[in-house]
């Protein structure tokens, strides 16, 4: 029985399977990280919007750049486009006034009630 080269073949097989597994784990981890970071940004932006006077572009900037007043040429987080961030203040003015920040492409929805109505 010929055995020369068998270990090479086995190594290749195992390496292919394990590489797929490891790369898959890295991919899922990366996806979860971006999702979590975006959810946190949406929540922070909604909170900011509820505390300060309503300013949709500033809220959108908080999600995209992490600041309400980004410098020129600032790079958006995760290559997010401004049109991907949906900002609104449904129920305002009124008792049910709230600030809503959504990133539909990532399945993120955050709502913060506005106090003082």
């Amino acid at each position: 029985m010929r055995r020369r080269g068998q270990s090479l073949v086995e190594t290749t097989l195992i390496l292919a399977a394990f590489m797929g597994l490891i790369l898959g784990m890295v991919g899922v981890g990366q996806m979860l990280f971006v999702r979590q970071a975006l959810a946190e940004r949406a929540q922070d932006a909604a909170r900011w919007g509820a505390v300060n006077s309503y300013n949709a572009p500033a809220i959108r900037n908080l999600v995209l750049y992490g600041t309400a007043t980004p410098s020129d040429g600032a790079i958006a987080f995760g290559g997010l486009e401004p049109s991907e961030v949906v900002v609104g203040n449904p129920g305002c003015p009124g008792v049910d006034c709230r600030v809503s920040v959504a990133i539909p492409g990532h399945g993120i929805q955050s709502t913060e009630p506005v106090e003082g109505f």
Partner: protein, 141 residues
Amino acid sequence: MIVRTSRTGSALIEFAAALILLSGMFTGIFQVGYTFFTYTTLVNAVRAGARYASLQAGNSNVAEPQFSKSVVNMVVYGEPRPAVDAKPVVRGLVPGNVELFLGPTSATVSVRGFEIDAIFTKVALAGRPTVTFPFTGGGAK
């Protein structure tokens, strides 16, 4: 005396043993990770609902059925008046799983009868997460 020299089956047996161990390990890692992730999401959702209830309780509309509906929607969909096609924050979570209790000075929101579906197993949550927030009187005052 019989001496067995055949080695052709040993690789298969080793592979089977390793597969059982490894698949068990990966399944366990997935279950714990997914359950923890989902539980954290639930805690955040329940907290958002309780906070909404504690702020809105200052308004006169507490007794209205829409109030408790809004609180429950806040937990399940992250929005008091969700779109018709809104997805729950956690797969399988329905408004019936959320319980709202309004005390004289506080609001308590709990998830009841919900099981985290981690594909290979289901994790039952015994009345958790539960969050109680005092009324902040942030409503019409």
